[in-house]
């Protein structure tokens, strides 16, 4: 039963799984970008570098502090989030009233600094990070072998995405956040500390990147370049989905991961480029993006 209509089902499901995992990372990063964009109206170019920082932080916690994966999973997003809060407060806020292109360039500069420092400290070849003991091994399913850690990535990132979506769309705090997106001046007039919300939002969005970094550490090798290559793909995803909706960013991220996985199976030469090609198609047919609100 491994062959069906000439398709090797083991290979196909294997690539689908890889696609779903990549999609989980795309979703987490796109979600972080969308949240930050909603309030600050900036594209955080350092999101990829902070994802890389998350992976390195997990590696360093194990190497230097003997803190295992589970501590890292909990602590690293907080540390990266605090780092992000400091960035927002001391670098991004002073130019909040300038053209948004400047904040984009600023975060690009921060990304260059982070990537350059880690390249110098740890080289560009990448460091291994072992899968935690509890998640080693796997489950045999009818058509494929499912490693436990990979299942964990999907479950964990989907749960975080769903939770974030619920928080933003259904809670009071989320309502503040959405109101701040619509009209920050009015919010301020109602006595709500908008700058504080902005800072916390940035910290949270960046923390998501940190979390993605920790999740990624055991499956991809921890390397300084891991952030920049994934970020450009995530940008294409954001263009495809539009940043108008939180749910849209998550769905597009997952869907593009699956599209990439399928391409890897059917036409591997195009697997690097397929998401960009989808972006071209979307630009031609629906320029505002699949979930986009603006014209």
């Amino acid at each position: 039963m491994a062959e069906f209509l000439g398709i090797n089902l083991f290979g196909l499901f294997g690539q689908l799984l890889v696609g779903l995992i990549n999609g989980s990372f795309y979703a987490l990063l796109a979600l972080g970008l969308a949240i930050i964009f909603g309030l600050l109206k900036i594209i955080n170019f350092s999101q990829g570098a902070l994802y890389m920082l998350g992976a390195f932080a997990a590696w360093m916690a194990l190497e230097y502090l003997q803190l295992n994966y589970w501590y890292a999973l909990f602590l690293v997003p907080i540390v990266v989030g605090i780092f992000g809060i400091l960035l927002e407060r001391f670098l991004i806020r002073p130019i909040a009233n300038e053209d948004h292109l400047y904040s984009l360039l600023l975060t690009f500069g921060i990304a260059l600094i982070l990537q350059g420092l880690f390249t110098d400290w740890y080289g560009s070849s990448g460091l291994p990070y072992a899968i935690p003991e509890e998640l080693k091994g796997g489950t045999r399913l009818p058509f494929m072998y499912l490693p436990n850690y990979r299942a964990w990535i999907i479950v964990c990132s989907l749960a975080v995405c769903a939770l974030t979506w619920f928080m933003i769309e259904k809670t009071k705090l989320g309502a503040y956040l959405r109101a701040g997106t619509e009209n920050p001046q009015l919010m301020q007039a109602f006595g709500i500390n908008v700058p504080l919300i902005v800072t916390l939002t940035y910290g949270f969005g960046v923390g998501l990147a940190g979390l993605a970094g920790v999740l990624a550490a055991p499956v991809y090798s921890v390397s300084p370049e891991m952030g920049s290559s994934i970020l450009i793909v995530v940008f294409a995803i954001v263009v495809i989905g539009g940043m108008g909706s939180i749910g849209g960013a998550i769905l597009t991220g997952l869907a593009m991961g699956i599209v990439e996985g399928l391409t890897k199976y059917f036409y591997p030469e195009a697997s690097n480029t397929v998401i960009f090609l989808v972006m071209v198609l979307v630009l031609l047919t629906k320029p505002a993006g699949l979930f986009g609100k603006e014209a």
């Binding site: 921060i110 260059l112 600094i113 990537q115 390249t119 954001v238």
Partner: protein
């Protein structure tokens, strides 16, 4: 000192420069200066931040390099082919990119550039990770041997001046005025009946073609076309050159390119060689936080205040 004397003194300096400085270094500065000027036409005068401009530089370099290596053509034909290829890619990419604005424009151009990057990485004619090495400089018009660095320098200088004048004329033409109007107030330009997207597209193609010219020339100077030329880092570098020199000024990108290339050369031989990217990042952050007018902008402010 009026503008004319200023321009002539700069020209005289450029002509005499190889007496003092290494010609290859000067040619590198000129190539990047032309690249940055082309980029500045979009960012500084239309307000469009293209984050994938390296692809036009690199396409020019690859096409010229490939033709010079495999066919017996003269360098001016090779350069024209490179410029044509970049202009064509610019036309296609421009058509797609002008559909979105602001931050989305930056992301679209970056993503499209990455698409092309993977194409060049996988295409057989680019030599993959090794790039195209040993590109011959050839004989200009079949007559003048360009293998001598000094001859090559004056050829590059002539190309730079031609490109620079073209940009200068574009900016100061009625067409350029419309571009500036779009930068200042796009909605107003639309309501005045200008087909804004057409203007943006035309500016995009001119900019792409001139970036290709810079790339083709660079391929001949260094006799090399490589993935570095099409990498996103190169796109970031040209943004930095323009920002540092002063976006929206005529001479800013030239000064910015000179400063960055000089800085890189200086760093490469010193103890900070491994930190070039970090230093670039720091310059980026400092420019954005404290220095948004760039070198030329600050200089103009200084002159206005004191003279």
């Amino acid at each position: 000192m009026n503008n004319k004397t200023l321009n002539f003194s700069i020209l005289a300096l450029a002509l005499a420069a190889p007496l003092v400085l290494y010609p290859v270094f000067l040619m590198k500065v000129l190539c990047f200066a032309l690249f940055a000027c082309a980029f500045n036409l979009l960012l500084g005068f239309v307000g469009l931040l293209s984050f994938g401009h390296a692809i036009f530089l690199g396409s020019g370099a690859y096409i010229t390099g490939h033709l010079m290596l495999n066919y017996s053509i003269t360098p001016e034909v090779g350069i024209l082919a490179g410029v044509g290829a970049s202009a064509l890619i610019g036309l296609i990419y421009g058509k797609l990119a002008v559909k979105r604005e602001g931050i989305y424009f930056a992301m679209v151009t970056l993503a499209l550039a990455q698409l092309m990057f993977f194409f060049y990485l996988q295409a057989p004619f680019t030599g993959g990770e090794d790039g195209l090495q040993g590109v011959p400089r050839g004989f200009l018009f079949g007559l003048i041997d360009l293998s001598d660095n000094l001859t090559m320098y004056y050829f590059v200088l002539a190309i730079f001046i031609a490109g620079f004048l073209l940009i200068y004329r574009t900016i100061h033409s009625p067409f350029g005025q419309v571009l500036k109007a779009i930068r200042e107030n796009e909605a107003r330009a639309i309501s005045l009946g200008y087909k804004v997207n057409n203007y943006k597209l035309q500016a995009f193609v001119i900019s792409a073609a001139l970036a290709g010219l810079a790339g083709s020339t660079k391929a001949l100077v260094f006799q090399l076309a490589s993935l570095n030329d099409v990498h996103w880092f190169m796109s970031g570098e040209v943004v930095l050159m323009t920002l540092l020199g002063g976006m929206g000024t005529i001479w800013g990108p030239v000064l910015g390119a000179g400063t960055i290339v000089g800085l890189q050369n200086f760093l490469a031989s010193g103890p900070l060689a491994n930190y070039i990217h970090v230093v670039m990042g720091v310059v980026f952050v400092v420019c954005v936080l404290a220095f948004r007018q760039g070198l030329v902008g600050e200089l103009q402010k200084l002159v206005r205040k004191n003279f």
